[in-house]
Symmetry: D3
């Protein structure tokens, strides 16, 4: 990508606003079906942002697994092709009766510089993975290997994960509230608006903490809007 | 296909044995994960067999639907490309909150000579579809159009449907017990063995109806095996 | 209601178009969350339309049931206050572990002239109810009385049923595809557009039956639009 | 059983009252958890009553199936030991991903004079079973053989089925509303009270059909109680 | 309330016994359906007690949300009307596909002195809310705003939450085991009996820790009852 | 047991390998259905291994609970009969609407030296149990007593738990990934192979951490196999 610097800058900024705020901004663009539901962070407090790479599993079928399950299969090719800052998103149909990633592959993804792995299937070696330096969001721990429920199939295709459609190249952002898909054409506008929303909410929270009621304050009505603008001028440059 | 006559003959014969029997034979080949679960016939008593064509829906996402939802979309292209005897299998992730096929497209599939449509999503115009001359197996009736829950995406790709992996070209067979996927390399062997199993079960059922106990009879033990072979010689050619 | 004749006329016409078509028209008004899901007709082939009356059950709680469960409770008051053409919609939270209506109350609703009863809870006396002259849509048969899972609570309040919000006075329409809620301000416009849509689909179906492909035909493109308009002129007045 | 005549008489009478009425009577004895939920009749309109025999499946485990799955296993022994009028109730943990009975064993149960088979697992050969002379209530059709999900384990032990505890010897009664368990010590009292309740409901239904309101009528208040008693005297002996 | 001192005293004492013990005592009064199931504390270890205030959401419907979703809606009015020690309980039908409360409103509830917020819907800003000084029990984190799944509707009405009926004014108590509803007429008796039960269990636990078997000890049989009474006399006043 | 020393040694060694690894080894023996799914540790980080003892609950039924629910019931007898190192596994049908064990019985199990309690039902007194010295794996916290959903029935019988069949005497092993059943005839072979697999994975993880790609490394291909063997020689005896 020619524009790597900007890309990295964007990724970093996306982790400074909450998934909840970004979700609210996408809703203003008419996008309500962009949350990957039913997944949790292996380590609470994880935050990440990055471009989607994708991996699709088919339901387990004995003859297909014999052909595609072992060796340098689609799952391993997906991991091995990750570039720094990317997020590997897996379609496991919400089936949690086996792992879809474990400690070794998660470690390899970390070493390759990936930002996160997101799967709506199970996670093996959950305790070890929680200690790694890469964010892993998953549908629940399970000790069994992939092949109990899945055939690793193909990579870099559009998928569904946790009820959301994900295309390679989509922006994926996650924190303790969940994981969100942002269509690339909207990402800069949504990020800018989210930063502004978080400034407003910081102001509102301060007022609430000081005892103000929320009528007219949240969302900002005319009177509080004026005070907010004054408050903005008091912020130092670094805030 | 060069071998059309044989293909048609095979399709016809597959509808003369039950899905339950074919399933038992596939199990003997180690294949247990080949049933499309959670679907029902629009008209009870439907039976069909044919080669799979596939259609994949992604979860509804507003921006993607705007690009791919309307006009001559993947769903319509799938219908319009069906050849006689084929079965269109749809991946709808078991999501039944909208129709995935309705009366007009089902009628068009019938006119094109398709053997069946199988979807793990909803069915619109269920009462009209039940009267058509094509088998439709579905996850439940729903009045809403496709776009409420799905984006029509691509055709002729491997999919999951009702928990089973389906590849284009797989044999698909359905009756009141459900829908089954048969990998093409196994179809002739499985069909032959199924026909033999049904002959045995016809014999066994006659004995049970006449008052015999099942120990040693079902499955055939040595003594009953002999009697079965005698019984076979009494069958006329057309049986 | 001063306008009873028009009201009855409207009700009758609403049963001449399918729920699927009405649902498609509501979607054009931005209304996607108006289907009562997970309910089935006690007798297949039932069709109805009418204004909503509502009944709300609370989850069973022993002390509340002692106060409100017996005698001329909210459930019975709801039935006894039904007017001709009305539809009683019950909020049972999708809990099917008891009946929420049985044969005697359904019969009384029929005698009072109600158009239908819709519940996302269970149905008692399912076989008898299927033979009545009133449409009953329900979440599944169950032999237990109401009090096993519910406390009859209040009537004529906004409710949720099968995942849809229903207000007293909303139009409710049902057929084999399911049950739909139509906000009163939209009902005439939606009905008119639905009738036109069904004329188009009748034309389209005729073309499909005669062998036409669907590209440009469904939905009507420019060329087929012209032919459709010609076809319209051939219809007799009574069609 | 020494008292066979009375036993047969009881069984016959239990099929003349509805499951819904019997359930209401059991509730008067404090028994609310006696319904086998989530099962349906292979043939709508089926009614049966009989003493429970039981069969328990364990979850499928490959090593246990190798020991106990084949040959004259617990499932077949259960069928082969059925006596006239008995009902075989199966514990399948609500797991419907395989059949738990098929046409041959159901036929054998019929020939042995069993009243019914009840399973909260799947049914194989559903279309054939629907035509037999024995009632079969099941959790849904499925083509796969038992061993896909279950190991046949033991017979004549207490079990859970459809959420209800069933002991060998319990009375089991079924109709289109579902299946009910009646503890033997209560059966005569419950049956008598149910017959009286149905007489009352027959009277009430007549009044409702004739236009009476339900307040004071259902349940019978003082005024209607008197009229009911008069009406009773008008019944002929055979009613 | 004239009796504020007693009320506060009661509230405080309710947090000194466990929800499990209170639940056992309510069962002795015949109350088994008083647990709000499927909710978890935003911060493990949270304990609270207070009087219920209620808020009801309807299922999302686009036309109703347009009328009632924005501005000083029912949700905000509910928060703004909370009095010290109250618990806001929300009916969200167990639908977790959006937040039903977030950090700003939770903070406002805290500032107003509310004891807790309980919702069977989702929680936004889960990480921030976990750090607040108010207990929040919820159905799971979700980043989306309320309007994705709900219309805020009315306050101070009887509701269902997590399968339990809740009336305004009911006592609500929560800890790591879950959330419980106590009907006000029973609260003093239940609290007293719970305190006694916990004394007994403290004694029993000591004996178990010291190696005693549980037969005759748990629950207290005659022999251990006597020893328990002796032990009671050894307790200092402050215990 | 004559062979106590070996038994204890085995138990200890089973806790030094992960459940995930043991699961992979069982799969090599054709055993895929040996995981107890849907349970979590009361205290994250718990690890245990031991021989199964079993306890079976029936679904709650009022008349049966009256007979078997109170006093020194099956649940208490199970606890009181536990021997050092044993694991009590409970069949609760995945029903989590009540506790199936609480702090006093868990403490008694600990005092008796049991290794763990595993239940697919609810856990009472979750916070206290988390602090005990015994591992408890459960389906979720719930404050209600056992009798809300269950009748304690019998002990030392084959059961199903979390979808797995468990026989008394089976080896049960648990950690943060879940709980596994190991048939006794396989345990030594599986343990040995698991230890070898973990050595390999330790080597592989070191290589991945050092930057190696996984192709040919995981699983070990010819080249890496050689290096692994060299690496083995560098390990000190105590590793």
């Amino acid at each position: 990508m020619a524009d790597d610097l900007a890309e990295n800058d964007l990724r970093e900024k996306l982790t400074t606003v909450s998934v909840a705020t970004l979700s609210a901004q996408l809703r203003k663009h008419g996008l309500n079906n962009v949350t990957i539901d039913g997944v949790q962070a292996a380590k609470p407090g994880s935050r990440f942002a990055g471009r989607a790479r994708t991996l699709r599993y088919l339901p387990h079928r004995e003859d297909l697994f014999a052909e595609r399950g072992d060796g340098f299969n689609a799952q391993k090719r997906a991991i091995e092709s990750l570039e720094p800052g990317e997020v590997l998103v897996m379609e496991a149909r919400g089936e949690r009766g086996s792992g879809t990633i474990g400690d070794i592959l998660a470690k390899r993804a970390e070493v390759r510089g990936a930002a996160a792995v997101v799967t709506d299937g199970g996670l093996r070696d959950a305790a070890v993975v929680a200690e790694l330096g890469i964010s892993v969001f998953h549908g629940g721990p399970h000790p069994a290997v992939l092949g109990r429920r899945h055939v690793p199939w193909d990579i870099d295709v559009p998928i569904g994960c946790g009820g959301a459609a994900v295309l390679p190249g989509d922006w994926i952002v996650g924190d303790d509230d969940g994981v969100l898909v942002i269509p690339p054409p909207l990402v800069r506008e949504v990020l800018g608006a989210a930063a502004e929303q978080e400034r407003q909410e910081r102001f509102i929270t301060e007022q609430v903490a000081a005892g103000s009621g929320i009528e007219g304050l949240y969302p900002l009505g005319d009177i509080w809007q004026k005070r907010y603008e004054d408050w903005l001028t008091t912020l130092t440059d670094t805030e």
